[in-house]
Structures are given as C-alpha cells and as structure tokens.
C-alpha cells in the first residue's frame, strides 16, 4: 500500500508519502487562499524529492479545515431546505431553532415539517405523509432550493422514512443534493438534524472543492486510481 497524505493547515500544507505504513518522504508548502494551489505546490515539491519516481500510488488522502472554516467565516454556504419527519411532535422546536441567528439567516432556505418518524421500539410514530413530502418538494423547487437536509424521529434505528422521503424528493428535484440525518448522527434529533443541515449547507463547496482536488491531483501527474466514492469522510 502506497498512499499520499495531505494535511491542509492554516499556515502550511504538508504532503507525505506513506509506503507500507512508513513515512517515505515529507514536504511543506505554504497554504494558498484557494487551497488547491497549495496542494498542487506540495505535490510538486513531493515529486521533486524523487520519492514518487515511477511508483504507482494507491490513493491520495486530503485532510482539510476548509469546510469548518467556511462555517466559521460564513462563506460559500448553500441555502438549505430542511425537511423533518415527525409531526405532530417537536413542532415548537423546528429545524435551525438553536443555530446562531446570523448563520441561520444565511443557511435557512425553508422549513417543512410533515408526519412520519419511528418509536424507539420500531413502531412507526406516524405513517409517513408521502403526499406532504411531494408537496414540500414542489415548494422547494419553486423556491429554487437545491440542497435538502432530511431528519426523522429515531432514524438511526430505522432510516426507512428518511430514505423514502429522499426518493420522493429526487423525483421532483433530480439535481438536488440530499442529506439524510441518519447517515451522519446518532440519537438526539436536534443534534443529528443540525449535522445534516450543516452537511447540506456545504454541498456546493464540497462539489467545487472535490473537483479542484481532483484537478490538482491530475495536474500533478500522479497516477492515482479514480478517487473512491464518496471521497469524503467526516469525523467530528
């Protein structure tokens, strides 16, 4: 196994080559404003050391604070449609209710709450109101929203309603980026929903950033096999 690891820090972008678990080469380049130039520079610098010569690379892993910075600096955020399945419960605490007001203003594209969700023991809390989901999808489309965060009561135990709602949304909004809360979080509706909404808010930035990373890797001339999908791993 031979992989390149890149860490985009606030000051420097580090690149290392790891062969069979050992660091075979390491370089630094200044982090650039657009992030990708710094990555490209670090890859070039790594190439210049000669450690990559005629070697097949199994993968390139990039770690970046790019996304957290976007949230902290309130930049490059996508307007998000929040769809919660769980009515009539929890209506007094709608999606975005505990967000900082300025961040909510930037991200909140609209909130839809419909019947659905499960009990802790697997019974449905309410049957999923599919007609209401489709109505919501049409309203999202009319509002020009292209990124949706779906949450549902006890979805980590049974993600069925979130999955079904995602299918219904995709019919009306074929180009939308859809995040299901059960893919990101654990028990705790607000916390898990917030993680999903944040992920949805980063949809455009993620697409652009990943495209830029792929370009940078191609330009560097490293023969890395097609980046595995999904290329992102979120932890923390």
């Amino acid at each position: 196994m031979r992989r390149i690891g890149i860490d985009v820090g606030g000051t420097n972008t580090d690149a290392v080559l790891i062969e069979e678990g050992k660091v075979a080469g390491a370089v630094k380049a200044p982090t650039s404003e657009d992030v990708t130039t710094g990555i490209l520079d670090s890859l070039k610098a790594l190439g210049a050391t000669g450690v990559l010569k005629a070697k097949k690379i199994d993968g390139v892993m990039i770690g970046t604070t790019h996304f957290i910075n976007a949230v902290v600096q309130r930049r490059h955020l996508t307007k998000v449609a929040a769809l919660r399945l769980g009515m009539p419960a929890s209506a007094s605490l709608p999606p975005f209710c505990d967000w900082p007001e300025d961040l909510a203003e930037l991200v909140r594209g609209g909130v839809w709450m419909v019947e659905g969700g499960h009990e802790y023991d697997g019974r449905p809390f309410m049957p999923l109101d599919e007609a209401a989901v489709t109505r919501a999808a049409r309203e999202m489309k009319a509002a020009g929203l292209k990124s949706v965060g779906i949450s549902s009561i006890f979805s980590p135990l049974d993600p069925g309603h979130e999955r079904r709602a995602a299918e219904l949304l995709a019919k009306e909004l074929p180009d939308a980026a859809i995040t299901c809360s059960s893919d990101l979080g654990r028990i705790g509706l607000l916390e898990r929903e917030n993680a999903g909404l944040l992920n949805a808010a980063l949809a455009d930035l993620a697409r652009d950033t990943i495209a830029a990373f792929e370009n940078a890797i191609q330009e560097s001339g490293i023969a890395a096999p097609g980046a595995p999908r999904p290329p992102c791993r979120r932890s923390g």
Partner: protein
C-alpha cells in the same frame, strides 16, 4: 404578594442549576430551555411565587414530563401538550388551578412547569416534592406525607389523553402510569395529583427553584470569569468535595425502564491512587471510595465536569471525562424514618444503613 418575574437569564441559570440538582438523572434541561427561549421571544413571561403566599384552598398542579430521557431527545416535548395535560386534569376534577409547580426540580422537570405557566398565565410555586431528581413517582415528600396518590393525567402529542383515576398508593400510580407512558412510546406530558395550598405549605420542599437559579448563576459567573466553577458552588452551597478524577469505566444496562449501571473514576491530584465507583439508577445512588460506601441517597451525589462545573448525566458520561464529585445535603423530610423508607439506600435494593456525609 411576594412574586418575582423571572427573566430569561434567570431561566438560563435555572437550567444549569436544575441539571446539577438532577444528580445524574432527570434529563438535560437544554430542550425545555430552548422552549422557554422561544416563548420569551414571543413575549411570554413567568412569575415565581412563594408557597407561603398560597391560600389554603388554592389548587396547585405539578406539570412535567415522564419517560426515558433518550426518547425525550428524539420526541421533544412542547408547551402545548404539557398545557393539555394540565387542562385534562382540570376537566377531570372540574376545578381550575391557581398555580403550577415542578414535579422534580432536578433535570428537565425543573424547567418544564414554566412552559405551561407561560401559556396558561399562571405563577410557578418555588417548591417541589423532591428537591432533586429521583427515578420513581413515590420518591416524593408528598408520598411520604401520605397525600392522595391520584389522579394523574398523561398526554401524548397525537391526541392521546389518559387519567389514572384511583389507586391505593403512589407506588401503584407509578406502575400503572409507567405502563401508559411506555405504550405512548416512553414519553408523556403529565399532571401529577392536584394539591391544595395547605398541602404544599406543609409537605412541599421549599425554595428549590430559587436554589437551582442560584447554583446556575454561580456556575455561569465562574465560567465567565474563568474561575473554578466547582469551588464556586461549594462556596455558596453547604456541600462537600468527595472526589476528583478521570472516568475509566461506564457500564450501562436498561432494565424495567430504568438506566442502571456503574461508573468508575480514577483519582487525580489529591485523590491520585484512589478509585471511586458510583452505582446509578438514572440518578447517582451510592458512591464507594476504594470499595467502602462514602455517600448514598438521599444525600445528593453530583458529578460535575471539572472544567465547566456543569453537571454530567448518567446517560451521557463517557470514558476519559475529567469530573469532580460533590455531595449536597438532602431535604430534611428524607431524613425521617418514613423518608428513608421511601428514598434511603434500601428503597433502591441496597443492604446499607444510611450514613450521611454531612453527619460526621
């Protein structure tokens, strides 16, 4: 009439203090606090009154939530359903309430009566029947006083309303109400048996909302000033420091609807080389130092985050957390023979005679 209008800042403090008095259980007051922020933004406001100012024939409702805290963070309670639980009781007894009260000051139920009070425009009495949190409905000053164990109303947001009309004692009320609650999905809004002003004055544990606000204010002030929040609590409350260390083990199991288990803490600083073990049933029940019982119910055992001073709950505490354990004195009524029968170590199945950390 000695009433105090609570500010939203008071309620922020109440949430922090109620969580400390939750002694590990009662559920985090964060979601009730979010509901209160929303209600205050809409222009609602809550008055706090003293039990001494109740007329003997006033009627007081205990308003709160029942169920598993883990369900409560998925199916989040709301002020309208809680208000319906109180209204359902009024319909049943054909009388109107004049005030509301907390069913337990520890945890989320320390804040919940304010949610209904804001909508019903009724004052909240600065008293409760526990002075802390306990896992079972008969572990109250009102049950120790032999007050009526019924009726109790249980309401679910989907339009389910139940009244447990008659039972011979509080333990039966707890058993039957718990079954209804489980059918609802293990969360319910409830109104506990109506109490007269005279009953509250005689059997309530008084000043507990004010006490929770005071503890919360102390913690929040220490945080702002970057001071030791645990030391700050011990400076304003007659508590004792029991232990300081790092969590090395948490074993949890859910049995009979309760979260039971054991917490292990490895000592730090002056407690280096010593191990503390704390048994819990939702709340911290008995703390052992090197195997010897050190503190036990009804003494309040509070596990606090060593840095923030905020309480840590039995359902969320995790390996590696730095915690400080303190004890706060229990309400006097729990120290009577009848009181210990209801909430002493034997009530939790321990073959231990109650020995207070405050008596030596």
């Amino acid at each position: 009439m000695n009433r105090r209008e609570l500010s939203i800042d008071d309620i922020e403090s109440l949430a922090v203090g109620a969580w400390v008095l939750g002694t590990g259980g009662g559920g985090n007051p964060y979601l009730p606090l979010l509901n209160m922020r929303a209600l205050y933004r809409e222009g609602h406001c809550v008055q706090l009154m003293q039990a001494a100012d109740l007329a003997d024939d006033d009627l007081v409702a205990g308003a709160g939530g029942m169920g598993a805290p883990l369900v409560g963070i998925e199916r989040m309670g709301d002020p309208y359903t809680l208000t319906r639980a109180v209204r359902a009781m009024e319909t049943h007894i054909k009388r109107r309430f004049t005030a509301l009260m907390s069913v337990e000051i520890g945890g989320g139920n320390g804040v919940r009566p304010l949610m209904a009070a804001a909508l019903m425009n009724l004052p909240v009495v600065d008293s409760d029947p526990m002075g802390r949190a306990y896992p079972e409905g008969q572990m109250t000053s009102t049950a120790i006083g032999g007050l009526a164990p019924c009726p109790i109303s249980l309401v679910d947001v989907r339009g389910l309303e139940s009244i447990v009309h008659s039972t011979p004692n509080a333990k039966w009320t707890e058993r039957v109400a718990r079954k209804i609650c489980i059918e609802y999905g293990s969360t319910a809004s409830m109104c506990t048996p109506p109490r007269t002003g005279a009953e509250i004055k005689k059997w309530g544990i008084h000043g507990t909302t004010t006490k929770a606000i005071r503890i919360g204010e102390t913690v929040r002030r220490a945080q702002r000033l970057h001071e030791d929040a645990v030391a700050a609590i011990l400076a304003v409350e007659p508590g004792v420091l029991l232990f300081k260390g790092k969590v090395i083990d948490v074993a949890r199991r859910v049995t009979e609807g309760y979260l039971r288990g054991v917490l292990g803490i490895d000592g730090l600083d002056e407690f280096r080389g010593v191990v503390m073990r704390i048994d819990f049933q939702n709340e911290w029940i008995v703390a052992y130092r090197d195997g010897e019982p050190l503190a036990m119910t009804p003494d309040l055992i509070c596990v606090l985050d060593s840095v923030s001073g905020e309480a840590v709950g039995s359902e969320t505490i995790r390996y590696g957390q730095r915690v400080t354990v303190i004890a706060l004195p229990p309400p006097e009524i729990f120290l009577t023979p009848k009181g210990l029968e209801h909430v002493g170590p034997r009530a939790f199945g321990y073959d231990l005679d109650y020995r207070s950390v405050f008596s030596s």
